[in-house]
């Protein structure tokens, strides 16, 4: 990922800053500038997610590429934050530990880097709570 493109969403990734449509009440993390339900009627403000949630579904990735190549086998999961929105994440736990409904909480980790001389990308992952 290019430095500009990563940097643009850096605060969001570091601190789980998403958006909230005050018109319909929906929370979005990953952030959306435009509420899909209210569209132009939606008033969007920022919000910071608490960082806790639960596992909705998951898999164990056995073969991957790029920055995740050496992490296999790892758990990839869709989790639902307490605020209601869902996101996809590397879930750091033993591969036989994960189950649907497992409570999780956020941690700060490296997401990747652009090679050994490139920028390092940081962000939020999750662990069992």
């Amino acid at each position: 990922m290019s430095v500009a493109r990563f940097w643009r969403k850096q605060q969001n990734r570091y601190n789980l800053i998403g958006t909230h449509c005050t018109t319909c009440g929906r929370y979005f993390y990953p952030p959306r500038a435009f509420c899909p339900d209210c569209r132009r009627e939606g008033k969007i403000v920022e919000f910071q997610a608490k960082g806790t949630g639960k596992v909705v579904t998951y898999t164990i990735i056995r073969s991957s590429s790029g920055n995740f190549k050496l992490l296999t086998p790892y758990v990839l999961a869709i989790i639902e934050l307490d605020e209601g929105s869902r996101l996809t994440t590397h879930l750091i736990c033993e591969i036989d530990q994960v189950y649907i409904g497992m409570p999780v909480k956020r941690v700060f980790r490296k997401l990747g880097e652009e090679g050994s001389s490139g920028a390092i990308f940081y962000g939020t992952k999750f662990v069992p709570a």
């Binding site: 570091y14 601190n15 700060f108 980790r109 490296k110 390092i120 940081y122 992952k125």
Partner: protein, 350 residues
């Protein structure tokens, strides 16, 4: 009075036994463990580094007390393993705790005492009224050259101290330092592993400076070792701090609570600070803490700290973040091959 407003520590979950490292190099693991007084050491996960450790430690400190990130005026991260040679770890920490953009920041290096140097700078900024809060972090994912003695102890971890004036949980009555140009341990730019002077790292280095700074502190404060409940010394292994304590007149009871190295290893810039965190995990109001760090190159920073009532008050919540003992207990043992993979010791293609 200036003091510690909050604190937090972080230790990665992975561990390797000293015996396992010895096995690979054909050495006697039992003897080495006993000789060093270290049995296990920590290592980072594949996606952890000094910055992620610093952030977790800083967030732990923020969790224990209601601090408005906008009041944080400075962040300093001391380490020997900053992920970038140029681009400070401190700015990522600042952003991850919501302190940016109105703050100053910089990274520190002074071998294992970079974190305590950051505490001293923080004290100056706070005492002078330049900032409300300053965050001082010492963290490392230390490098040990394969097959070298230091490989047995070079570990990963860190701690954060938030320094301020208002209602500290522990007041820092005084700090003083003993610094010289001593080549006991160093790492050249672009080299992956440090080098050291073997036995030279003992008397002319660690002991000269730790004892030097400690004696200065006791003299300045007019105190005796028995005036303190706890003593924390830099802990590169399990023997040096015990010896230093003995030389100064501190007892095993006083140093034991802050001696994390036995099952952690030497977290370099994190070492003294993690030791101090372990003490703060159990300290009671009124108890006095004596701390002297050590960084090769060389220097020692000494601190005289007194715990206040605030530590047990509603303003502070010790249980809101994991204690050092809990971090040490949450562990996953690996073998040398996995250790090498995690520490980047396996030669990869670009």
């Amino acid at each position: 009075m200036v003091g510690i407003i909050s604190y937090g520590a972080y230790i990665p979950r992975y561990r390797i036994k000293i015996e396992e490292i010895a096995r690979v190099w054909g050495a006697n693991g039992t003897e080495i463990s006993r000789g060093l007084g270290v049995y296990e050491k920590s290592l980072p996960d594949m996606d952890e580094d000094t910055i992620t450790i610093s952030v977790e430690a800083a967030r732990a400190a923020m969790a224990r007390r209601k601090i408005d990130p906008a009041d944080i005026g400075a962040v300093y991260v001391g380490s020997e393993s900053h992920p970038y040679a140029v681009k400070p770890s401190a700015v990522t920490v600042g952003e991850a705790i919501g302190a940016t953009p109105v703050m100053t920041a910089a990274d520190y290096e002074f071998a294992c005492k970079a974190g305590t140097a950051a505490i001293q700078t923080s004290m100056g900024l706070v005492k002078s009224g330049m900032v409300t809060y300053s965050v001082a972090i010492g963290a490392d994912i230390a490098q040990g050259e394969p097959g070298d003695a230091l490989e047995y102890t070079a570990a990963a971890g860190g701690a954060a101290m938030i320094i301020g004036n208002d209602d500290p949980i522990a007041e820092i009555s005084h700090t003083c330092s003993y610094t010289t140009d001593t080549p006991d341990f160093w790492r050249r730019e672009n080299k992956p592993y440090p080098r050291h002077g073997g036995r030279f790292t003992g008397e002319p280095a660690y002991f000269k400076h730790v004892i030097g700074a400690s004696k200065m502190m006791l003299e300045k404060m007019g105190t005796k070792p028995s005036d303190y409940t706890y003593a924390v010394f830099h802990q590169p292994n399990g023997k040096f701090p015990v010896q230093a304590a003995s030389m100064l007149g501190f007892s095993m009871e006083q140093i034991k609570p802050g001696l994390a190295v036995t099952y952690l290893g030497n977290t370099y810039s994190g070492a003294s600070m993690v030791g101090l965190s372990a003490v703060l995990d159990v300290a009671k109001p009124g108890e006095r803490i004596f701390m002297t760090s050590y960084g090769s190159g060389a220097g020692s920073d000494s601190f005289d700290i007194t715990v206040t009532d605030v530590i047990d008050s509603d303003l502070f919540s010790r249980d809101a973040a994991p204690k050092v003992s809990e971090l040490l207990a949450d562990k996953k043992l690996v073998d040398y091959a996995v250790y090498a993979k995690h520490k980047g010791k396996v030669v990869m293609m670009e």
